[in-house]
């Protein structure tokens, strides 16, 4: 129905996560009406991202031009503690909290037996190699609080315990600012399991 180039663009947008055919057409028509230089900025941003973005050789997070990521390149970060996250976006979330001064490791996914995703599809061998030299004394498993995240955390715990002094998992519980009344049973159950001493 649409001319070839427009149809191609709609098809490409429709392949993106969360974009259906209607949204794809909406985005394509928006770009059709956009001045040429603005559309080219988008095009060159995509090209540049694909050409220059690489993965950090240490933590497997996103980096630029084959270099270390800013966190692995920062000598002030504590190398003895590694926070393991499933996705580079999770790393950014933990960084925004300002509560962690160690280093990271990005797995690029979670173990999902139902989807057939096993350890070899994730950056687990790289993590295992990082803890071999005895510098790392704690690994914090910061995986999602769902079945995939739990499977990943349990597997990593089994794998790393003989090699690292301390393997911990982030606590799960009621969101700050929320009312207990609205917490579901699973979340509240985990919050009670993870309770700790209160020092007045």
């Amino acid at each position: 129905m649409y001319p070839g180039p427009l149809r191609n663009l709609i098809d490409e947008f429709a392949r993106l996560p969360g974009i259906g055919p209607k949204n794809a057409a909406r985005l394509a028509f928006f770009l059709l009406r956009t001045p040429r230089d603005e559309a080219e900025r988008l095009s060159s941003a995509i090209r540049e991202m694909k050409e220059r973005t690489t993965f950090c050789p240490i933590c497997c997070s996103v980096a630029e031009g084959g270099q270390l990521c800013p966190i692995c390149a920062d000598d002030r970060r504590d190398p003895s503690v590694i926070c393991v996250v499933q996705d580079p976006r999770d790393l950014m979330v933990v960084e925004r909290s300002g509560s962690f001064a160690g280093r990271y490791h990005v797995l690029h996914g979670g173990l999902s037996p139902l989807e057939g995703i096993g350890p070899e599809q994730l950056k687990i061998a790289e993590l295992e190699a990082r803890v071999q030299d005895g510098v790392v004394t704690e690994v914090i498993l910061c995986t999602n609080p769902n079945v995939e995240g739990d499977t990943t955390a349990l597997y990593l715990s089994r794998l790393l315990r003989p090699k690292v002094a301390k393997v911990t998992k982030i606590a799960a519980g009621v969101p700050v600012g929320g009312d207990l009344e609205y917490a579901d049973e699973m979340t509240l159950g985990r919050a009670l399991e993870g309770r700790r001493d209160l020092e007045a």
């Binding site: 139902l114 070899e120 739990d150 579901d184 049973e185 699973m186």
Partner: protein
């Protein structure tokens, strides 16, 4: 406009859009049903935690003209906390959910399969039960329920009382030396299988792991994969766990 109000187990979950999920339920009285749970991936979702895979819930769905319903309310009946903290139980339960997803039909009630699944998940959640043979027992019982249960008392080909030394599902089950096909089995594995499917499952599930148990688990995996005519992703991806 159609409301569906039933007890269900969450079999699968797929992310949808920004914060939604598509969930696959096996319901007690309405067969396999798919529905969208809106906003459940957000940390402050009011029922995200209840709709995790393997949870047993009381669910209320709105089903309009489309096949996909919308979850309106979910109350947790059993969150299986032990399963979620033990890797072997968790991966075993996932294999059972994958098989159930393959066996269950959309909108076709199968209360027997539902009860088998609920019982199996409760066994996995019981710390006193050894998890190794819970899933394999479910696979064999599912085959029996589908009329494909293996012959385990006499040779499936010639009816000879034994000794039974091999197993081939396509031949009907255990085989004697003269009819030997498929996979060789030890005498201990034969006795274990006979006890497991002969009314002593509960005591079998309380026994420690053994070589015979591993043999029976391998037979069960081969049998269910043969019956489903597909390889189970869960079994393949957890081999090295």
């Amino acid at each position: 406009m159609r409301q569906l109000d039933d007890e269900a187990v969450v079999l699968r979950s797929y992310p949808l859009g920004e914060a939604d999920r598509i969930l696959v339920f096996l319901t007690a009285n309405h067969g396999k049903v798919r529905a969208v749970a809106k906003g459940v991936r957000r940390a402050k979702s009011k029922f995200g935690g209840r709709l995790e895979i393997s949870n047993r819930v009381h669910v209320n769905l709105y089903r309009g003209a489309k096949e996909l319903g919308v979850v309106q309310q979910a109350d947790l009946l059993d969150g299986h906390p032990t399963i979620r903290t033990d890797l072997d139980r968790l991966t075993g339960a996932m294999a059972v959910l994958e098989v159930t997803d393959q066996l269950a039909q959309n909108d076709l009630p199968d209360p027997r399969l539902y009860q088998m699944l609920v019982g199996c998940l409760e066994s996995y959640d019981d710390p006193s039960m050894v998890p190794t043979l819970i899933g394999p027992a479910f696979f064999f019982k599912a085959l029996v329920a589908d009329g494909m249960g293996p012959e385990i008392e006499v040779c499936a080909r010639c009816g000879n009382a034994g000794p039974l030394v091999a197993f081939a599902l396509l031949e009907g089950g255990l085989l004697c030396d003269g009819c030997r096909r498929g996979r060789s089995v030890s005498i201990d594995a034969v006795h274990l299988l006979q006890r497991m499917l002969g009314g002593h499952l509960r005591s079998v599930l309380h026994e420690p792991d053994s070589l015979a148990g591993s043999e029976v688990a391998a037979l069960a995996a081969e049998a269910i994969e043969g019956a489903l005519d597909r390889r189970l992703k869960t079994l393949r991806s957890t081999t090295n766990f």
